[in-house]
């Protein structure tokens, strides 16, 4: 996985962009735990998704694109990269179904 950590506009390093080894599929989103709000704009030519996981991060990306972005919560900013990588591994994991 290719990782790019970005400095956010509040002065932290909490925005982590990761390029997965393969494009994201819609069913991959089911493997992210703790999602409170899931938005998928499936009608768009490039379907945008946004998963909000309170206490951890906001995950955004585009279905069929390997790049995802984690905006990690202030409360866990020290673990931003760790949390993002852990969730990215889940996203890219081989489906068991």
């Amino acid at each position: 996985m290719k990782v790019l950590v970005q400095r956010d506009c509040l002065g932290g390093e909490r925005i982590v962009e990761i390029e997965l080894p393969r494009p994201v599929r819609l069913e991959d989103l089911d493997r992210i735990e703790g999602v409170e709000t899931r938005t998928v704009l499936a009608h768009l030519p490039r379907p945008f998704f946004r998963l909000d996981v309170p206490g951890r991060f906001l995950l955004t990306g585009i279905v069929s694109d390997p790049r995802v972005r984690f905006t990690v919560r202030m409360a866990v900013r020290d673990r931003a990269l760790e949390l993002a990588l852990e969730a990215a591994e889940r996203l890219a994991a081989r489906s068991t179904s």
């Binding site: 970005q6 506009c9 704009l41 768009l44 030519p45 490039r46 945008f48 909000d52 309170p54 905006t71």
Partner: protein, 216 residues
Amino acid sequence: MSVDERAIVEAVGGLPLVGNEEGLIPAFGLYLTRHYADYYNHVSYAYLHAAHQEGPEAVAKARAALIEAGHVCAFNTFGGIMLSQEWEAVVGPMLSGRDDWVPGIVSVINALGWGRWRLEGLTPGEELRVRVDNSYESTGYLETHGTSKVGSVCFLATGGVAGIMNLIYHGDILARPALTPDYYAELFAGTGRFVAEEVACRAAGAERCEVVARRA
């Protein structure tokens, strides 16, 4: 141009732009604020009026500073939006060339509640003319102070229009640059940059607000 503003406004309007449990609104790869427009107006116009008590030099500095706030906003907010996944997903498929980025970002602005922006004219690389029918700045000024005796008052919009041109035609937002302080200085302080002027303002008696950006 192939940009469908209605589709963009609907799509952006479908995004849950609400605060999280930390009081932040992460969207477009940056943080949005739900700001009281009246509060921003109050602070801006108190500053402007105080400058008028001091004389022309203070007025010039105040107006420049208030427009500069618009430049900073445009650079970070419009620039951040144009680099975001939301942009790629919603606006990206409608863009067939650099010139389409202008109506693209104007459409997104129209989803943010700043007033109704309309493209009156675009000469690529040379001039952008934007009409704003109900800018929150002129509306706020009229409600609080009545007709302006201090000239045009839509400073954030003025800086914003210059910012659009600087991001798209003076810089190259299409190349996905990092939005760093150095890049800001290059776009907004260097030679060949765009500057904007509000040539008509509702607060000063015009029928609508109109901002024109041209190279300095």
